[in-house]
């Protein structure tokens, strides 16, 4: 992705989630595993106008593209942070893709999955590690 547009310290982060270097995140809450994109990612993309979502039942390996986020300026692939099968998609994004801009960690979640290999969770980045990654990319 391109040089950050907002200073890294001005971005929002969530301490309760794990991050993937391709700027997606994973939240595990009881049996529910949710995936979205980080505030950094949405900031890079700009105002989103369309999100291409997968279908429930689709399966993806870690690192595979599971969807696409489109702004007027650019198109970016959404990259799977862990392997799994899609159990739900955020249909609200179809009519309001800007939820990803406004609230990327809450209403702007993208998919829920059933994880294929829970050990992959341990390989994700903590918030501090993710911030370090962003600093190194800046």
């Amino acid at each position: 992705m391109a040089q950050t547009k907002v200073a890294l310290e001005e971005l929002n982060y969530d301490e309760q989630i794990s991050y993937f270097p391709e700027h997606t995140w994973v939240r595990v809450k009881e049996d529910n595993i949710t995936i979205g994109i980080s505030d950094y990612a949405q900031d890079q993309l700009g105002d989103l106008i369309f999100v291409e979502l997968p279908a429930v039942g689709d399966e993806f390996q870690r690192g595979e593209t599971f969807g696409q986020a489109e702004s007027a300026k650019t198109v970016s692939s959404l990259i799977m942070p862990i392997s799994g099968k899609v159990t739900a998609v955020n249909e609200a994004l179809e009519d309001a893709p800007d939820l990803l801009n406004r609230t990327p960690y809450q209403e702007g979640w993208i998919i829920n999955i059933e994880a294929k290999d829970m050990t992959e969770l341990k390989e994700l980045l903590t918030l501090d590690q993710y911030k370090e990654l962003l600093r190194n990319q800046a």
Binding site: D47, I49, E70, A72, K73, V75, D95, A96, P97
Partner: protein
């Protein structure tokens, strides 16, 4: 006719298209995709995503629609507003920025509507834009008018093949005298650029092969004879078979840039300044 125009804040080309509609009393509603029109543009994009062209720098604005047809870019929008569908094929979404407008194809449309095309070009140029116009030699009369009326800032002629292969490549009957006439006209324009993409061609026997160095020599000879000069700027370009509309041609492996040296050497027999695109 009531038009919706999707614009981007501060977009000069959008202002020119709006100016055209105001000058011609065409009713329109503006939706700025970064301001009050954000939601409408999202809905429009969702419904018409396949019809909206996205280049390397994103979506080109303005986009206009009358509810039935969608036109994108300054040229295609004004052409549609000015003449409906008569100017189909003359404009596409370009890649140049600021005051430069490209995606203007003199050979792409119906020559019966040359007057309307000239009017559109005059309007755009009259708004302090610079025009990069291309031709493959067809519609030579329109090229002559564009040069005569000083409408082009850059003219590019893509001499796509030796005359006997023109129709084969374009998949239609071609009056090759048009190509020769265009070559004679284009020398009157100081900023003219002549070029050929080394492309794969479906031959008369059904086989597919790249233009050969000898065929490039034939093109160079054609240019030399047509322009009366062996000092024309002539550029040899690599083609991208994967961008072809023909699925069989898409499968052809791209040439490597060092494979163009033999083409350049042949071309220089007739055009001493022939070069390979860098």
């Amino acid at each position: 006719m009531s038009i919706t125009i999707f614009t981007a804040t501060g977009c000069t080309r959008c202002k020119i298209v709006k100016g055209y509609m105001e000058a011609h009393q065409i009713e329109y509603v503006e939706k700025d995709m970064k301001a009050e029109g954000k939601d409408e543009f999202q809905s429009f994009y969702k419904a018409n995503r396949n019809a909206v062209f996205r280049g390397a720098d994103g979506i080109e604005f303005p986009i206009i629609t009358d509810g039935k047809n969608i036109r994108q870019s300054i040229g295609a929008a004004i052409a549609y507003l000015h003449a409906g569908q008569k100017l189909e094929g003359y404009f596409s979404v370009g890649t140049l920025h600021k005051e430069w407008v490209d995606g203007i194809h003199l050979s792409g449309g119906n020559p019966e509507y040359g007057d309307e095309l000239i009017q559109v070009l005059k309007y755009i140029k009259g708004n302090n834009m610079k025009l990069q116009i291309d031709t493959d030699g067809r519609n030579s009369q329109i090229l002559e008018r564009v040069i005569g009326e000083n409408l082009a800032d850059v003219l590019i002629m893509d001499v796509i093949a030796p005359l006997e292969l023109y129709g084969q490549i374009l998949e239609k009957e071609i009056n090759t005298e048009e190509i020769v006439k265009s070559l004679s006209f284009i020398t009157k324009f100081p900023e003219a650029k002549l070029q050929t993409s080394i492309r794969p061609v479906r031959r008369a026997d059904g086989s597919i092969s790249y233009l050969t160095p000898d065929e490039i020599a034939d093109i160079a000879k054609l240019i030399q004879e047509g322009t009366g000069s062996n000092k024309c700027r002539y550029l040899l370009k690599l083609s991208k078979p994967q961008d072809s509309n023909d699925k069989e041609l898409q499968k052809v492996a791209p040439l490597l840039s060092n494979q163009l040296f033999s083409y350049r050497n042949k071309a220089r027999t007739f055009l001493v300044f022939a070069e390979i695109e860098k």
